[in-house]
Symmetry: C2
DNA sequence: TGGATATGACCTTGGAGTAAGTTACCTCAA
DNA sequence: TTGAGGTAACTTACTCCAAGGTCATATCCA
């Protein structure tokens, strides 16, 4: 017989799909879409390449399924935290705490969400837009509250701070993933100390005041 | 004659190399190493692919040259700022200001520096290690001063804050690149306001309080 | 016995890298 | 001044390969 290993092994489609999806999440999340190979994922899942194509259609289809799984998991957690009644910095800390706990068993989901090598058109782009919106909305909301708390009402300031906040979350999670052995709880505490440190160090200093830059704020009278 | 366009155009090697390098910086910085094609860069530079290989040896060699150019430009600017006598948050703002000004004419250099699709071995990896060290050293130094200022002496805290700081710089520059028309000076001012906002919003709230983290500073806090 | 599960071997393509030839400029002897 | 030979600049037209995707076939269960 020419195809020695061919033929069903009696594993139902749903089970195989899950098995493939798990392998795909880890590979895509670890190496990124571009560097991942379908053959490699199939091997990791313990099956052959054509089966992946039969169930997911294409590399992009497989990535889409992985992305949706990861994004849904994380977005749901962030939304859960958003419904509690904390505001400002405290809300930020709760969000981080939730993410650390959610990511503990499958840390690669985080990178999956922000994979820069993923296709930037088609269904993947659409899915990413959906989840980016969902997540960004939460960040915008949180940052908005914080800005109101503090009296800065420049919408571009809020936009920039949102970007910084999301990036800081990314950095903290990445740092955490690089320091195995640190528990989510320890990490959350660390984040708290860091915020205090930043806050304590901010000085009302005047800048070189080059060009026509209006003298910035004086500490309590925020915003000129 | 079979090769219609063949033959020298009398452009000296140094000139061509520069011309190719410029095109390469823009393409690599915009699309990333993986998605960039040597043929495309050659076309942008107005010459043919083999000439690129003759001058730079390989795609990796071309990237290396581009990377070195960009990294040197940016590292030099950051080091220049580091020699002035500002500390803590002020020093951070000066760094940002210097970067905005340096990047204004060739914004893509920034992405070049952190391209995740660049090869992670060989000469490129070595060069990246060199520049990452140089830049990280500055960040570590700045963050170290800040932590001392504030009384937090946990080295892991400093390490994490360094990561956050570098990531925040990245986020601010990315945000800026997405908002054309904002001048470096305006951007620097915005950064100043944002720091004040964060600082003003931070609350000395008590967390679960696990482990023996030293209770940091009290700050004359705005915000309960 | 038909349909779901499964695979080895193949086809295809895009892009890195190369071989071999073409043209222009430069130098120096006569 | 001139023109022959050497060298640097430059291109067309390939080869090669990794990885996405397909086809024809095999096995098993209801």
């Amino acid at each position: 017989m020419s195809r020695a290993n061919a033929g069903t092994k009696g594993v139902p489609r749903a089970d195989r799909e899950l098995q493939i999806l798990r392998a795909a999440c880890e590979v895509f999340g670890t190496m990124g879409f571009a560097k991942a190979s379908v053959a490699g994922i199939a091997a990791d899942a313990g099956i052959s390449k054509p089966l992946v194509y039969q169930y997911f259609g294409s590399k992009e289809g497989l990535f889409l399924a992985s992305f949706n799984y990861g994004a849904e998991t994380l977005a749901a957690e962030m939304e859960r935290v958003a419904t509690d009644d904390s505001v400002g910095v405290e809300r930020g800390l709760h969000t981080l705490d939730g993410l650390f706990r959610t990511l503990e068993p499958q840390p690669w989901l985080w990178r999956l969400l922000f994979d820069p090598s993923a296709p930037d058109d088609g269904e993947v782009a659409a899915a990413r837009a959906v989840y980016t919106d969902r997540i960004t909305r939460l960040a915008v909301e949180g940052v908005g509250e914080l800005m109101r708390l503090v009296g800065d009402d420049d919408p571009l300031d809020a936009s920039a701070l949102t970007a910084v906040w999301m990036s800081a979350v990314d950095a903290l999670i990445t740092w955490w993933l690089d320091h195995p052995g640190v528990t989510p709880a320890q990490m959350t505490e660390r984040c708290h100390r860091l915020i205090i440190a930043i806050s304590g160090a901010a000085l009302p200093a005047e800048l070189p005041a080059e060009g026509g830059a209006p003298r910035p704020v004086e500490r309590s009278s925020l915003r000129a």
